[in-house]
C-alpha cells in the first residue's frame, strides 16, 4: 500500500471495474453514482458571484444534475424547468411561508388578498388608474429628452399606481412609499432591514387606522374602502390586516419586470424597433422578459412531508429553492435559451395554467407574477388573474412611453447591468439612462 495521500484515484478506478457482482447498498450506489464534484463552492450561491451573474452558476447546476444540496444554506436547489414547475404547482407537498413568518410576526394581521371583493376592487382600480398614472409619469420627463427609466419609470409607476388604487391621498404618497419600501425590504434575512421594517409596519398601522375608519364611514371607489367594508369571519378588519395584506402582495415585482423589459429592449435595438413598429408585440416582449430575465430569481417552498424526488430524499420541513432563473434558461425546453427573442415560437404567449398548457408550450416562470395559476382561465365570480393584470399594466405603461417618445435609445456611454443588491432581492436594472426625442 502506498502512502501517497495525494493520488488515490488510480487505485480506486482499478478497483471499481471488477466489482460488478455482489450486493451494493443504497449508500454505496449513491457514492458510485456521483460522477463529478459539485459545480459550485459551498456558499457561492449567496455571494456576489451569484448576485452579479446567476445564470452561469445556474447553468452549471442544471448540467450537474436534477438537484443540488446546498449544505451551507441548508437548501435543495432545483433548476430544471420540469422540476421547478412540478414543485410550484404541487401545493399538496410543498408550502410557501408568508413574509410575516420571515419577520417572526406570523400572527400579525390577516392576509386578505384572496377575498373576492378585494380582488374586484383591485382589478377595477388598476383598470381605471393605470392609463392615467402612466401618462402622468411619462409626461414628467417627456419634454426633457433624457430620463432614467429604472427609477423614473419602472420603479415609480407601480408605486404611484398602488397609491391611487388603494385610495391613498397624493399628499401622503411619498411618506407612504418610503414606509412601504422599508417594510418590503425587511422580509428577508437582513436583521437591520428587518428592524427598520418592523418600525415601518407599526408606522403604517398608525397611518391606516384613521384612514380606515374614514373609509368605513364614507366608502369611496378604492381598494381601501373595499377592505374597510369587507365582511369575513372573525373580528372586524383593522389596520393590522391592511398592513399584512400590503406586505404579502409584492407590487415591486412589476418594477423589476418593467425595468428588465426595457433594459432588454434597449440593449437589443432590433427587437425594440420591431416592437415599436408592431405594438401588439409589446405584450410578447413582456412575456419573453419574464422568461429571459426574471426579476425574481427563485421561489422558496418548504416540504410539507418527506418526499423522494429529483434523486433525493427531501425531509419534511426542508427548503426547496425553485430556481426560476435556472428553469427559464433550460436548453431542453427553450431553443437558444440565452437569447432574447420577442415572440419566440416555443414560449406560450398566454398565462401558464397547471404545469403545462394543453398546447404543451412552456411559459417563462417568474415567482409572484408568472407562477402557474390553479384557477380556470375564466374564473366565475373572480376578476382576471394578477398575472393578466400585471401583463396589462406593463403593456399600458410601455405603450405610454412609446407614444410619448421617438428615437428612444440608451444614453451615450451608458452600460446598464442587471444585478441583485442582496441575496433574495430583485434581480433587475437599477439605472437605465436613455435619450429620446419628444413627440
Amino acid at each position: 500500500m502506498s502512502a501517497d495521500y495525494g493520488s488515490p484515484t488510480v487505485e480506486h478506478e482499478a478497483a471499481a471495474g471488477d466489482d460488478e457482482a455482489g450486493y451494493r447498498s443504497y449508500e454505496v450506489y449513491q457514492r458510485e453514482r456521483v460522477g463529478s464534484p459539485p459545480p459550485v463552492k459551498p456558499g457561492q450561491l449567496r455571494t456576489q458571484d451569484y448576485l452579479d451573474d446567476p445564470y452561469t452558476l445556474l447553468a452549471n447546476l442544471r448540467h450537474y444534475g436534477p438537484s443540488f444540496r446546498d449544505w451551507q444554506g441548508n437548501a435543495f436547489w432545483i433548476t430544471h424547468y420540469n422540476d421547478v414547475t412540478s414543485v410550484l404547482v404541487d401545493s399538496a407537498n410543498f408550502a410557501t411561508r408568508s413574509k410575516r413568518w420571515f419577520y417572526g410576526l406570523a400572527t400579525f394581521g390577516r392576509d386578505l388578498r384572496n377575498n373576492v371583493p378585494f380582488l374586484t376592487a383591485q382589478a377595477a382600480g388598476i383598470d381605471k388608474h393605470a392609463p392615467v398614472v402612466a401618462r402622468e409619469i411619462v409626461e414628467a420627463f417627456a419634454t426633457r429628452g433624457t430620463a432614467d427609466l429604472a427609477t423614473e419609470f419602472a420603479a415609480l409607476f407601480p408605486l404611484q399606481l398602488l397609491g391611487r388604487t388603494w385610495g391613498i391621498p397624493d399628499a401622503d404618497l411619498p411618506v407612504f412609499v418610503e414606509r412601504y419600501l422599508r417594510m418590503q425590504r425587511g422580509s428577508r434575512w437582513n436583521v437591520a432591514n428587518q428592524e427598520a421594517g418592523k418600525q415601518a409596519m407599526l408606522q403604517l398601522v398608525s397611518y391606516f387606522t384613521p384612514l380606515l375608519a374614514a373609509r368605513r364611514a364614507d366608502p369611496q371607489d378604492d381598494v381601501l374602502s373595499a377592505l374597510a367594508t369587507l365582511e369575513i369571519d372573525g373580528p372586524a378588519i383593522d389596520a393590522h390586516d391592511v398592513v399584512a395584506t400590503l406586505l404579502e402582495g409584492d407590487h415591486e415585482t412589476l418594477h423589476g419586470a418593467l425595468a428588465n423589459m426595457w433594459y432588454l429592449l434597449l440593449t437589443h435595438p432590433d427587437q425594440l424597433n420591431m416592437v415599436n413598429n408592431t405594438r401588439r408585440l409589446v405584450k410578447y416582449a413582456y412575456f419573453e422578459t419574464l422568461r429571459h430575465s426574471t426579476p425574481v430569481l427563485s421561489g422558496e417552498r418548504f416540504a410539507k412531508r418527506e418526499v423522494e424526488r429529483f434523486g433525493l430524499l427531501i425531509p419534511e420541513g426542508a427548503l426547496v429553492i425553485c430556481s426560476a432563473a435556472g428553469a427559464n434558461r433550460d436548453e431542453t425546453i427553450f431553443r437558444d435559451a440565452d437569447q432574447f427573442i420577442v415572440g419566440r415560437k416555443d414560449l406560450v404567449q398566454r398565462e401558464p395554467r397547471g404545469q403545462y398548457r394543453a398546447d404543451g408550450l412552456p411559459a417563462g416562470i417568474t415567482p409572484a407574477l408568472g407562477t402557474p395559476s390553479k384557477f380556470p382561465a375564466l374564473p366565475v365570480g373572480r376578476p382576471r388573474s394578477l398575472y393578466a393584470i400585471t401583463r396589462d399594466i406593463a403593456t399600458i405603461a410601455s405603450h405610454a412611453l412609446l407614444d410619448a417618445t421617438s428615437n428612444l435609445q440608451l444614453a451615450k456611454g451608458a452600460q446598464p447591468v442587471l444585478k441583485s443588491r442582496g441575496y433574495g432581492e430583485l434581480h433587475t436594472c437599477w439605472h437605465l439612462p436613455v435619450t429620446f426625442t419628444a413627440k
Partner: protein
C-alpha cells in the same frame, strides 16, 4: 416640487440607502479585541441585533464567544434566515433537546451520510439504541481498563522517539540542552490514530493509509470541495476493511500483552460476530461503523491534547498544580473541553412543531445545538471565559450518558449527553490524560516556543484558539 418629483426622490433615496447598507454579501466584519463583540446595531428596545453573516466571518472563527453570549442572553433560540436554521445556545435547552430523542431527530441522510455511510449518527429511537453500543461498549469500563496498559506503551514508544536524534521529531541544541518540537507532529496527530488502529486491530501498515482516509473523509463531509476525494477515501477504506473482515469472521484477532496473552479481541472481530435484529452485520455496516471511528477518533483527541497543553502553558500556576498532582490531569482534560473543545455542536431536526424560548419552530427545521455556547453558559459555569482547572462547578469524573448535575457541579457538553453521547468519550479521556501524564514525566521546564507560533491580530500575543483546535504547538523542553 411636484408629486412625481417627490416620489422619485423618495425611491431614489431608499434605493441608495439600500445599496450602501443593506445587503452586500462581501461585507467584512472587523477583527475585534478578544471577548468583545462587534456592534451590529440595536433594535428599538435597545436589544443588540444579530447579523447572521457573522457565522461565515473570520472574526467569528477566532472570537466566537462574545457573539454566543449575545445569542444566549437575547436570542436563546435564534432563527438564522440566511442559513435557514435555528441556533439553540443555552445549556439547559440543549441538554433537554439531546435527551428528547423522539422530539429532536438526528438528521436522516444528513451531511455526513455521503461519505461516512449509514452510521449511528443518522439513526434515532429504537434503531439507534440497538446499534449505538455496537462498538462503544468495548471502549468503556472494564473493557477499556484492559486496554490501558497498551495505550501507555504506545505513548512511551512515541515519546522515546523524541530523544532519538534520527527520528527527526525534535531539534536538539547541545549548548542549552534544550529540545524543540511541534507537539502535533511529534505526538498529538499520531497518538490517537495509533490507539484507534490498535483498538480496531488494523495492521501497522494501515497507519499510513489511516491519515489519508481520515483527512479526506472529514474534508468531504458537508459537500465541501473535497467531497469527491472523500468518497474515494471512503471506497478505499471499504476495500481495505473488506479484505480483513472475512478473515476476522473466521479467526478473531486479539490485542496481546507483553507476555503474549490475549487481552481483548479487536473491534472489527467484535463487530464480525455482533448480531443485530437476528443477523450479523454486513461488511458495509461494519465499514460505516469503522468510518465513524476513523473520523471521530483522530481530530477530536488531537485537538484536546494540543488545546490542553496550549492552555496550561499559558497558565503556569495551573500547570504547576497539575504537575504536582497527577489526578488533576482529568480535571485539566475536562476543563479544556469545556473551555475550548474541538467539536462545536450537533445538528438536530425537530419532529414536531415546537415552541422553544418563545420561538415557534416548524417541523423539520435544522436546529443547531451549540455545544461551544453551552460550555460557556454563565447560567451553569461561573466566569466561563476563564480557563480554570481548579474550578469547582465542573464535573470531571467518569462521563455519564445521563449527564451530571449535582452539588453545583455539571458536566461539560463537549461529548453531548443522552442517547447520542460520544461513544469515544471514555477512551479519548484516557488518551488525553494518560498521554499527557506520561509526557509530563519525561520532560521538564516546558514552555511554548513563542517565536514559531501563530500570532493574534496584534502580531505579538499568541493566537486565540477560537472555534476548533490550534494547528501547531511548538514546545521547548528539557529531558528528564
Amino acid at each position: 416640487m411636484s408629486l412625481i418629483e417627490e416620489l422619485h426622490k423618495t425611491i431614489a433615496t431608499t434605493y441608495e440607502v439600500d445599496a450602501q447598507t443593506a445587503s452586500t454579501q462581501t461585507f467584512e466584519f472587523p477583527l475585534m479585541p478578544l471577548g468583545t463583540a462587534y456592534d451590529m446595531g440595536r433594535d428599538a428596545q435597545g436589544v443588540p441585533l444579530f447579523d447572521p453573516r457573522i457565522f461565515d466571518s473570520r472574526e467569528f472563527q477566532r472570537n466566537p464567544y462574545p457573539y454566543y453570549r449575545i445569542l444566549r442572553d437575547h436570542y436563546p433560540v435564534y432563527h438564522d434566515k440566511l442559513h435557514n436554521c435555528y441556533f439553540v445556545t443555552r445549556y439547559n435547552d440543549i441538554a433537554a433537546c439531546y435527551f428528547d430523542g423522539l422530539g429532536y431527530n438526528t438528521i436522516p441522510k444528513g451531511s455526513s451520510n455521503h461519505v461516512l455511510g449509514n452510521t449511528q449518527l443518522e439513526l434515532s429511537g429504537i434503531e439507534h439504541s440497538r446499534r449505538r453500543n455496537l462498538y462503544g461498549r468495548h471502549l468503556v469500563g472494564a473493557a477499556l481498563t484492559k486496554r490501558i496498559g497498551a495505550i501507555c506503551k504506545l505513548a512511551n514508544e512515541m515519546i522515546d522517539e523524541w530523544f532519538n536524534p534520527e527520528s527527526g521529531m525534535t531539534e536538539y541544541d547541545p549548548a542549552t540542552g534544550k529540545y524543540t518540537m511541534e507537539l502535533g507532529k511529534a505526538f498529538a496527530n499520531e497518538f490517537p490514530i495509533r490507539v484507534v488502529c490498535q483498538v480496531l486491530g488494523f495492521p501497522d501498515e494501515a497507519r499510513d493509509k489511516f491519515y489519508y482516509w481520515y483527512k479526506y473523509m472529514m474534508g468531504g463531509i458537508g459537500g465541501r470541495d473535497y467531497e469527491q476525494k472523500g468518497l474515494m477515501a471512503r471506497q478505499d477504506l471499504e476495500d481495505f476493511v473488506e479484505s480483513i473482515v472475512e478473515e476476522r469472521r473466521l479467526k478473531p484477532n486479539f490485542l496481546l500483552d507483553d507476555e503474549g496473552n490475549e487481552v481483548a479481541p479487536d473491534i472489527i472481530s467484535e463487530l464480525c460476530k455482533t448480531i443485530v435484529d437476528g443477523d450479523v452485520l454486513s461488511t458495509e455496516e461494519i465499514t460505516s461503523n469503522i468510518a465513524l471511528i476513523v473520523g471521530g477518533g483522530g481530530e477530536t483527541t488531537r485537538g484536546a491534547i494540543l488545546n490542553m497543553w496550549y492552555l496550561l502553558l499559558q497558565h503556569p500556576d495551573q500547570m504547576e498544580a497539575v504537575l504536582n498532582n497527577d489526578p488533576l490531569w482529568d480535571a485539566a482534560f475536562h476543563e479544556t473541553l469545556r473551555h475550548s473543545s474541538s467539536i462545536g455542536g450537533q445538528p438536530r431536526q425537530n419532529t414536531f412543531d415546537v415552541e422553544l424560548q418563545g420561538v415557534k419552530v416548524p417541523t423539520g427545521s435544522l436546529m443547531h445545538m451549540v455545544d461551544f455556547s453551552a460550555n460557556h453558559d454563565e447560567r451553569i459555569f461561573s466566569d466561563p471565559e476563564k480557563f480554570d482547572v481548579l474550578r469547582n462547578d465542573l464535573y470531571s469524573e467518569k462521563i455519564l450518558r445521563s449527564g451530571y448535575s449535582k452539588d453545583g457541579r455539571t458536566n461539560h457538553m463537549a461529548f453531548g449527553v443522552g442517547p447520542h453521547l460520544c461513544p469515544g468519550a471514555w477512551i479519548s479521556h484516557q488518551e488525553g490524560s494518560i498521554g499527557s501524564s506520561i509526557m509530563s514525566k519525561r520532560i521538564k521546564n516546558v514552555r511554548i516556543a513563542t517565536d514559531r507560533m501563530a500570532k493574534d491580530i496584534d502580531g505579538v500575543s499568541l493566537a486565540p484558539i477560537g472555534l476548533g483546535a490550534i494547528n501547531e504547538l511548538w514546545l521547548e523542553f528539557e529531558a528528564i
